[in-house]
Assembly symmetry: C7
């Protein structure tokens, strides 16, 4: 069920909280069973600073939570 | 047996304690065997501050404990 | 053998030490092979403070030790 | 071979060093393949302080080393 | 799907963020299912300092994210 | 191949570095596939202090490296 | 593919970065699928200090990266 929500979020914007407290936002392009994800147009927000990261392959075990943007 | 209590808590409010000490409250929509969960109307409480997070997919290995609200 | 002692502790009071040093006490309602547990009437003791948590689903990998109360 | 020494230590006193630096001493009653253990008459030594913990189910992945007492 | 993007990145430049906050850049030569990777012409950036590391075999569980360079 | 060197080290002196930075020296009596080990006449060196620990069952996942003594 | 580069590095000098930030250099004698390795003529470099460790069996999960020396 968590993976089916992830499935519905493909090609949509998501916000990700990582274990190191970084927040990434971007478009979810794909994922696998380990919650490895591909994110496009990724932006990292750190307080006021925004860093554009482009396409990112994210290792699932660094992810705390995923928030689909509406 | 822990999973069967989780089953009964679907569509009900739960409070979650995460490893990074954050407390999340919201409605449990679904879960899987790894305790990955989907929470709706999620609110993060941090001392006095409340942050509305909406729908959240939570990775199970960041969860310490789940308290069904009654 | 550790699980068989846990089996005998069902419906009895247990004290739990978690990795984050919190101590929980309550009635063990159920458990699974990963030492995920359901605890009822849970109280968290933190020095002098006691916090009533009610029913808690606890993820096994946060548990250091379980002490059946006699 | 490590498990066979553990087998010989059943019903004997052991000293355990945990990852959080606590030292526990007590009688080994049982164990399983994950090095989960049941210890009776457990005493926790913390510098000069001794705390009697009675019977304890210990999760194996918190254990650093086990010293059979002779 | 994350692995298929990695497949397309073979022989191209990638930027890697490691758990210890180091940033490595180089040419991805190969990888396996655990995200172990071989990187050539690797450069480690640490603030202003650049250290040339040459060919590096990287253990996947130290990787936070991989950014294909375009 | 790492395990075959361990096999040759049985009944010989080894020095062990643990994740908590402790150094143990003693005679390797046995081991298993997880690098759990039994060490006899174990001595823990901590700067200038030496502590005799006798026989120790060591959990493999606390071990960083093993140096056979020659 | 990462393991095949490791295969080519057998009997050659490698430099290893460990999770605890130690740097080891020596001749790679063997390895297994978990990246456990046997290193001979191992030297640990810590700033200016060099410590000769001789033969070392290294547990793979402490390794961040391996650099074959050319």
């Amino acid at each position: 069920m968590p993976l089916s929500l992830l499935e519905k979020s493909v090609n949509k914007k998501v916000s990700l909280l990582l274990k190191d407290n970084r927040v990434l936002e971007g478009t979810l392009i794909g994922y696998d069973d380990y919650l490895n994800m591909v994110i496009e147009n990724t932006e990292e927000t750190n307080g006021d600073q925004v860093k554009r990261l482009g396409t990112v392959i994210l290792r699932g075990n660094n992810v705390v939570s995923i928030t689909p943007q509406s």
